[in-house]
């Protein structure tokens, strides 16, 4: 072994493999408590195969009318252990809350009211999603970062006879902003909220068709054959392996550039994630070109 090899080993900043401590074991549990891969992940079964789901859609008017009537157990001191309205019911268990969403299209205030009744101060945004994600609880998002004791997360529970059944856990005394999304059916043509960053390793939106590696012209032709409109995002890879995507108009894209993958944008449009080809120009500053997120605007 040469001197270089010896010296390189000698400056190894972490020469010994760390043991799995309690923090590592907690991380494993926390990760496995996050939602399993969703519909955009073609390598796993569709959500529907985990158990039947029957969305129960009631109108917002109905929800508002019965909300107060079935609110239960709100003692004068401290939060309730159980609360239900026509949109959602929440029940406190030992170290989590059971959440059942019955009306994903209800007013966000119905959801916030229920969370607050059991002592969780959260903001809820009802966001448009694809039909097979209706009722889904998105997040939790902690925009300012989660630095507190305990952990925060959700776990889906199946089988479920409502639009969504799951567990939510978070410390009741967390003072920061916590945002949940509730997926409602998107209107025709309305863009879906994006809850997961695009995965450049391969995401495919068109069943039975692989867009990855094909030219823009070929994938666009396939999309049109299926009656879909096409949107474009440039997928910028930085030299050190990172990536970011940038929504761009069609005239920024050349037919012979390569498609990395595709994702449903709305009921009638598919977004093609395109690798920038010659003449694409310099990559934008990822912070300035940040794609808007569903939780950015929390006003109605």
């Amino acid at each position: 072994m040469s001197d270089i090899d010896h010296l390189m080993r000698a400056i190894d900043p972490t020469p010994h493999a760390p043991e799995q401590g309690p923090g590592a074991r907690e991380l494993r549990a926390a990760i496995m408590a996050t939602p399993a891969p969703g519909r955009r992940r073609s390598w796993l079964p569709q959500r529907g195969t985990f158990g039947p789901r029957w969305p129960v859609l009631a109108s917002a008017v109905t929800a508002a009318a019965v909300a107060v009537a079935i609110g239960v157990g709100l003692p004068a001191s401290g939060p309730a252990t159980e609360y239900a309205n026509a949109a959602v019911s929440i029940k406190k268990a030992e170290d989590y809350f059971s959440v059942t969403i019955t009306d994903p299209a209800a007013d966000r205030r119905r959801f916030e009211e229920a969370f607050r009744a059991v002592g969780l101060n959260v903001t809820v945004k009802v966001v448009p999603v694809a039909p097979d994600e209706v009722g889904e609880l998105l997040g939790p998002v902690v925009p300012e970062g989660f630095k507190w004791h305990g952990s925060i997360g959700t776990q889906r529970v199946t089988p479920c006879a409502s639009a969504f059944c799951g567990k939510v856990w978070m410390p009741s005394d967390f003072p920061g902003r916590v945002v949940f999304g509730v997926g409602r059916p998107a209107k025709p043509g309305e863009p879906y909220a994006e809850d997961v960053a695009f995965d450049p390793e391969g995401e495919e939106a068109m069943a039975g068709y692989t867009a990855h590696g094909k030219t823009v012209a070929a994938v666009r032709a396939e999309a049109r054959r299926r009656g879909l409109k096409v949107g474009y995002r440039l997928l910028w890879n930085s030299p050190d392996g990172g990536f970011s995507d940038q929504p761009v108009p069609a005239d920024r894209i050349k037919d012979d550039w390569t498609v990395s993958g595709s994702r449903d944008h709305s009921s009638d449009t598919v977004d093609l994630y395109v690798l920038p080809g010659p003449g694409a120009g310099p990559a934008p500053d990822p912070l300035k070109a940040r794609t808007p997120q569903w939780y950015d605007d929390l006003t109605d």
């Binding site: 900043p13 493999a17 990760i31 996050t34």
Partner: protein, 170 residues
């Protein structure tokens, strides 16, 4: 084997290596915890894609590499998945040997591409073929990069040594 079993097996088998990989390339316990949690969160979400056997580790290295470079990282941080791990890591930072600072300085002088292959070869102990899988290039390209990086490190070490001697004489 269910996805849960598979993920548990992958996590338990490769946590130490990914922890080490992350710790070697980050300067704060928070960043280390972020890279670990983001890498395994990706593995969980894509567990069906994680290859079998030893290639799983190379796949994880590839993910961790992208996480390190990825401006958008933060899904696991937003969800607060690694809070206890952060505290644990903060209490256990490695110490650098002072007498090898000149080697560290020569290494730091190298371009990022060189540092990357040298670290994968000598710290993770990967062959050129394995490095190629992590970087997504051909084995020939990885071997060439490694060869050039070694030569540049040798030259940088020489410069550092002569600088040290010159400073000692002054």
């Amino acid at each position: 084997m269910t996805h849960r079993d598979r993920f548990e097996a992958v996590y338990d088998a490769y946590y130490p290596a990914i922890h080490q990989y992350a710790a070697r390339r980050t300067s704060s316990p928070d960043d280390t915890a972020d890279v670990i949690s983001e890498t395994f969160l990706t593995a969980w979400r894509r567990i069906g894609d994680v290859p079998e056997g030893e290639r799983a580790l190379l796949w994880l290295y590839g993910v961790a590499r992208r996480v390190l470079a990825n401006q958008q990282r933060g899904a696991s941080r937003r969800a607060g998945l690694a809070e206890r791990l952060r505290d644990e890591l903060a209490a256990d930072r490695p110490v650098r040997p002072v007498d090898l600072e000149y080697v560290r300085a020569a290494f730091d002088e190298l371009p990022e591409r060189d540092r990357e292959v040298m670290a994968l070869a000598h710290w993770e102990g990967l062959s050129s073929e394995q490095i190629a899988k992590v970087l997504g290039c051909t084995a020939v390209a990885a071997r060439t990069r490694l060869h050039r990086a070694r030569k540049r490190l040798a030259a940088a070490l020489e410069r550092q040594t002569s600088m040290t001697i010159a400073m000692g004489e002054a």
